[in-house]
């Protein structure tokens, strides 16, 4: 019959209208992404509180977009004074975390980092020798 397809379509949409919506109320129900989800990177801290990075440049060379920047300690080539990641240009491919021989880098579960000025997207994971914690997140 001519209208059977149309009526079936209406039936489907009505069944969904009366069914339960699948919306997740994001800002009020905050769900963390799965464990190995590639979001923003951060630096581990080894047992005596110093950053776990050994300034071996593997991640700097391995990064396809040259997004990481490392400043070595002049007198101790095994220690990094400054480690900068420009997450405004990073493509979150995860090669740095994968290539690091000392597993110093890891992925935080945090993705709420929209900002009003571009400068805030340059994160100094190591600042003059010490690990900086990730910025706190202001809920809207």
């Amino acid at each position: 019959m001519f209208g059977s397809g149309l009526l079936k379509g209406l039936g489907i949409t009505l069944r969904h209208a009366l069914g339960r919506p699948v919306t997740e109320l994001y800002p009020f129900e905050h769900k963390n992404p799965p464990a190995n989800s590639r979001t923003f990177i951060a630096m581990h801290v080894n047992e005596e509180g110093a950053p776990a990075c050994r300034a071996c440049n593997t991640c700097i060379v391995g990064c396809p977009d040259r997004v990481l920047k490392l400043v070595k300690d002049p007198d101790d080539p095994k220690r990094a004074v400054e480690f900068v990641v420009n997450s405004g240009r990073c493509t979150y491919c995860g090669l740095c975390v994968e290539n690091c021989p000392f597993d110093a880098l890891y992925f935080t579960q945090d993705y709420e980092r929209a900002t009003r000025d571009k400068g805030a997207l340059i994160y100094h994971l190591i600042e003059d020798g010490a690990c900086t914690h990730e910025g706190e997140v202001d809920r809207p």
């Binding site: 379509g9 209406l10 949409t13 009505l14 969904h16 919506p21 699948v22 919306t23």
Partner: protein, 323 residues
């Protein structure tokens, strides 16, 4: 005109304008909410209780938007365009009767008056489309004009069937004549044709070619920003309200309900049901193509509408008591 008539008319005018404002605000909210749930999502939710404050926010924002007049547009027609659509839509509501004797003016040619103003709409759309001087609005306007004109004739003929049955064009007579059996059961064919034709008059899916999102960006309203866009939406929802009123008054028995005392509440329920039906169609059906739209009207609806009138007239003559 006596003073009482003036006051009555003025009060009803303010009442009608308020009615349109409420219809538009609640209509847009209910449409976004209903189509949201149709699509398994929640629709406006966080601003006000279940999004009720969403529409006032849209209104405030639209009022304060910049009013752009493109250089290549014809300034005068561009400004008048939305008015030429809103004025007929609102004027057509003057003849609506919500209860026996409860209405602005119970004209004995009420139906004729409503259809007279509905025929002005294609002119308004054509003016909007032509004055914006953009290709998309031009195509949208010509489509709107062609569609409205070609679907008016089946609508009139189907309504003629009802007028023949009720014997008068006064809305209260038509509705009172349906106290026993509604005309939907006496003239099912007429109801089908009238429903399809009114759907096309209101530019609702599956006939919403004038504002075809996918082909013509936004159809004839492409160039409108801010309050002009608000006006066009106001006109769209008042035409939707008038269309739903006509379907519920002519075929669904207006304010009388079987086994229950007659009251304007039933009329309101039927109007809301008809509007929800159009939203249900809008959420489900795709859009017709232009030539199949035209062929549906001229080759299918028109002949069947003529057959319907002949049948109704013949039945009215043959067995006088049936209507």
């Amino acid at each position: 005109m006596s003073a009482a008539m003036w006051i009555h008319a003025l009060l009803w005018l303010v009442g009608l304008l308020l009615l349109i404002a409420v219809v538009t605000v609640m209509g847009v909210w209910w449409e976004r909410k209903f189509i949201g749930h149709l699509q398994r999502r929640r629709g406006p939710l966080h601003h006000g209780f279940h999004g009720l404050l969403q529409l006032p926010a849209d209104m405030v924002k639209m009022i304060s938007k910049e009013d752009i007049v493109p250089d290549s547009a014809d300034p005068w027609l561009f400004q008048i365009g939305p008015l030429m659509v809103v004025v007929p839509a609102i004027a057509a509501m003057a003849a609506l009767m919500f209860a026996p004797g409860f209405g602005l003016l119970d004209m004995n040619h009420g139906l004729f008056y409503i259809f007279a103003f509905q025929t002005l709409l294609p002119l308004g759309f054509a003016v909007i489309g032509w004055s914006c001087a953009s290709k998309f609005t031009l195509i949208g306007a010509l489509r709107a004009a062609a569609q409205l004109i070609s679907y008016e004739i089946p609508m009139l003929l189907a309504a003629l069937g009802v007028v023949v049955a009720a014997g008068s064009m006064r809305l209260t007579d038509i509705i009172n004549a349906q106290a026993g059996v509604w005309y939907i059961f006496k003239e099912p064919l007429g109801f089908a044709i009238f429903g399809i034709a009114v759907l096309a008059e209101m530019n609702r899916t599956p006939f919403d070619l004038p504002e075809a999102e996918s082909e013509l960006v936004a159809g004839y309203q492409t160039e409108y920003s801010g309050m002009k866009f608000g006006f066009v939406q106001l006109a769209e929802y008042s035409v939707l309200f008038t269309g739903s009123y006509l379907v519920s008054a002519l075929f669904l028995g207006g304010w009388n309900m079987p086994f229950l005392p007659a009251s304007p509440l039933w009329l309101l329920l039927k109007i809301v049901a008809c509007m929800t039906m159009t939203m249900w169609f809008r959420g489900t059906f795709p859009r017709l193509r232009v030539d199949s739209l035209m062929s549906l009207s001229w080759k299918w609806l028109l002949p069947i509408a003529l057959v319907n009138i002949m049948a109704v007239a013949a039945l009215a003559l043959a067995l006088p008591g049936i209507y």
